[in-house]
Amino acid sequence: MSSVAQKKGFGAAVWDWMTTVDHKKIGILYLLGGAFFFVLGGIEALFIRWQLLTPQNDFVTAGMFNDLITMHGTTMIFLAAMPILFGFMNAIVPLQIGARDVAFPFINSLGFWMFMLGGIFLNLSWLFGEVPDAGWTSYASLSLVSPGHGIDFYALGLQIAGAGTLMAGINFLVTIINMRAPGMTYMRMPLFTWTTFIASAMILFAFPPLTVGLFFLTFDRMFGGQFFNHLMGGNTIIWEHIFWIFGHPEVYILILPAFGIFSEIFSTFARKRLFGYPSMVFATVLIGFLGFMVWAHHMFTVGLGPTANAIFAVATMAIAVPTGVKIFNWLLTMWGGSIKVTTPMLYALGFIPSFVMGGVTGVMQGSAPLDYQLHDSYFIVAHFHYVIVGGVVLAILAGTHYWWPKMFGTMLNETLGKITFVFFFIGFHMTFLIQHWLGFWGMPRRVWTYMPNQGWDLANMISTIGAISMGIGVIILVFNAIMATIKNERVGNDPWGDGRTLEWAIPSPPPFYNFPQTPLVRGLDSVWLEKMDGNESGFLPAEPVKDIHMPYGSILPFIMTLGLFIAGFGAMFRLEHAWGLPVLVGGLVVTFFAMAARSVRDDLGFYVTKEEVLQTEKEIAQRGHN
């Protein structure tokens, strides 16, 4: 009854993936789902840049351009960057803390399906021809008057996806608090686990405001609410506050796990303990805390008055300090180490100058009076792409190469990886460096075209060429991933040879129960410590081999989400079609029945017997020797 090498029919395989509650499989689902939306958002980006290649270009219409920028931003933030990071968190964090799964496997699956169906719901707007067009920020005055169902797709799709994110965040919090292996104290947790922990705590506090804001928007648009209608006593500025109270922490939710990924990579490929580990942890916590204190710096030009602007300006600048601490700690981790420039390390090396650029322009914009000039110009476009692409996306690409063997059991080709890096990195700087100057030269953001003779023509052309280069990089990466899967050359526990954390002590990919025996952790960089002490396996068990308790899979998370997905269409068309209301109610009924089914029927899980564990381990060991 070994589950390692069973051949299944296609239908059975699909069913297996749809019902899985295994964190490693959900991690892969998140990664693939996120990658799909990443490519989609990338295509939207290329359309945007192509439209701006020359002045007065007519590649797309003005309305279409607003659809593209809105969907590009929304897709990249909510449906690409976050899910891919969740993919790594799912696949790696339980391994790093020596756990057999996350705390709530069922909720984990539910979180994934809500993200996926929420994302699909949002993107179905393309097929309906009514696409969100008020920017990813969807400021209230414009989003209320936007014709068609575009903004409805935005509000409902993000509501569904956002609820999934909140669940995932809670799940990681509980997992990291409760499921660490013996000896894995907080101050021995790998940095990626730490940043996941803090990012999850931020999700817990940042997503409820988004939920509330989206409900307000939904009610204003679909159920006659007046929260943002100033003619009826509402207020549009409230939307801006609510959005950014969510939106600013959101960018730290993205960047902290990215910091975590790079911390792992620097330490691994410099073959050296992370410099100043306690201060790295403290800086992470501090950034997480300060991230909630600065939302109004997105609103300096709203007219909040000099006192509010001054307070938020100074608070914003304060974040530079812990971020700077992190940068110098990474530099000093490299200093005195033994640096091997693998593909992940190459991304990490590219990250430092890119992110420092994005960081300093952030401080510049933190200065309110200067921001009056830079806000909503191309400078801000350059800035946030430097932090999100130069930070988060480089981390995602680095993490993909770094953990690919752990997640899939094969290696991505290193040469192709480095070629990807070159195209992507050069393209990235080419696209966005010049945009700082476009901002200085007075070009506003979100413009679908521009008149000639304003001094912007050449810079825009350079920017577009850069974007194409980034696109080529991504295509090579996709090709690389497909080739690696086709070749299917299996790798051992620690293909990089310098692994320091627990995930490198078990097979790639790990068996479904992860650890045959729960590990004992004696310090930071557990595997490295054991190896240095002469324990070649890098693994110290805390218990004898015994029966392992595992949860059953379930289709209920998918059904619950499907109910919400259907209800969303009902809500949207309720006012135009008679079937709207029944579909809205029917969808919710499906969800509630699925919830009731889950509540009534206890899932006691099953035991993997000791013999099965030993048999599986033996099979994996033999496979390794072949």
């Binding site: 003005a62 309305g63 008020a134 005055s141 414009l142 100033h230 549009t236 500025i237 410099a270 073959r271 303990r273 410099f275 580990y277 030009t301 709203v302 007219g303 602007n309 001054a310 300006a313 100074v314 600048m317 530079a320 300090v321 700077g324 601490v325 110098f328 000093l332 490299m334 200093w335 005195g336 180490g337 033994s338 640096i339 091997k340 420039v341 100058p353 420092v356 300093v360 510049m364 933190g366 200065s367 309110a368 009076p369 200067l370 009056y372 000039q373 806000h375 909503d376 110009s377 100057w437 200085f440 030269w441 007075g442 506003p444 979100r446 413009v447 075209t449 304003q454 001094g455 240095m532």
Partner: protein, 363 residues
Amino acid sequence: MKKGLKKWRLFSLLTVLAIFLAGCGQEEISTLMPAGQVGRDQFNLLMIAAAIMLSVIFVVVTIYTIALVKFRRSKLGEDHIPEQTEGSHFLEMVWTVIPIILVLIFAVVTVYYTYKLGDVSAMGATDEEGNPENLVVDVTAKLYWWEFEYKDLGIITAQELVVPTDEKVYFNLIAADVKHSFWIPAVGGKLDTNVENVNKFYLVFEKESKDLRDGVFYGKCAELCGPSHALMDFKVKSLPRAEFDEWVVAMQNTADEKPVANQKGEEVFVQSGCIGCHATDATAVQGGVKQSGTQGPNLATFGDRNRVAGFMPHDAENLEDWIRDTQKNKPGNKMPSYGEDQISNDEMDALVEYLMGLKVEEK
């Protein structure tokens, strides 16, 4: 030989200068060539920020480069196990305290300028006779055009803001439909025009716009406001105070003396209903009381303007094209298009001539 060298030097100097100037953008729209106190304060702040930030980047890149060159595994050997340093309290103190000092310096400057640029206390001040001491312009942003009302002077105009140089000009900003943002990059930073409240700020225009390439500064809408957000441009003319006063008088006189360049054109203007939305009288709005002909931009100064519809070259051909198909030129705007069945080609020529003749400036 020596002469050639000198020429070469001069040439290279000019090249450097040209590159430097190109890096500054164009005078009528670039924030890097500020034409007033507010923009210059912001530019100075940018320079201070850039100096601090470049020094930080320099330090990071230096350490980074040395580390990367010095500590490569290819040099140290495959088996080299580095010392597992835990950290250094001294170093960590250094890179905590120095950034704090830098941030504090920058914070002080920032707070100073925040209050300086936010100071509108002089707005509405009057002298002993009760006359306003400062010029106040009420800006209303609409889909996709700008209305400028000089309440104290009893005049209104659109699309082209006219201001005196070398004094503080105060602005009341509001939006009539959705949120926009008022930005004249070369003169100073932007401020949003919200739908529910009036925002106030001031700008100073220190350069006369007639010396610029088009004779105007460029103004932009900086907040996404719909399909034609990109085309929601306006222009700014800055004149010496005396010329500005003359302009004001001429504007006030448009109630009585309207230039009629083409009699038939005026008839078309009235009969086709243009006048329902567009007044040709710059006093059509007084003290905020809207009179007829204020749904669309006021056209009293149309002939003086620099652009048709805020962004198209100001000639007869573009004007006709605009009236014939407004949606093609500015998607989502509120002005109806007029086909040949509504305004014949002959009538159109007359109308265009009439409109182009609506001037208050001497040309």
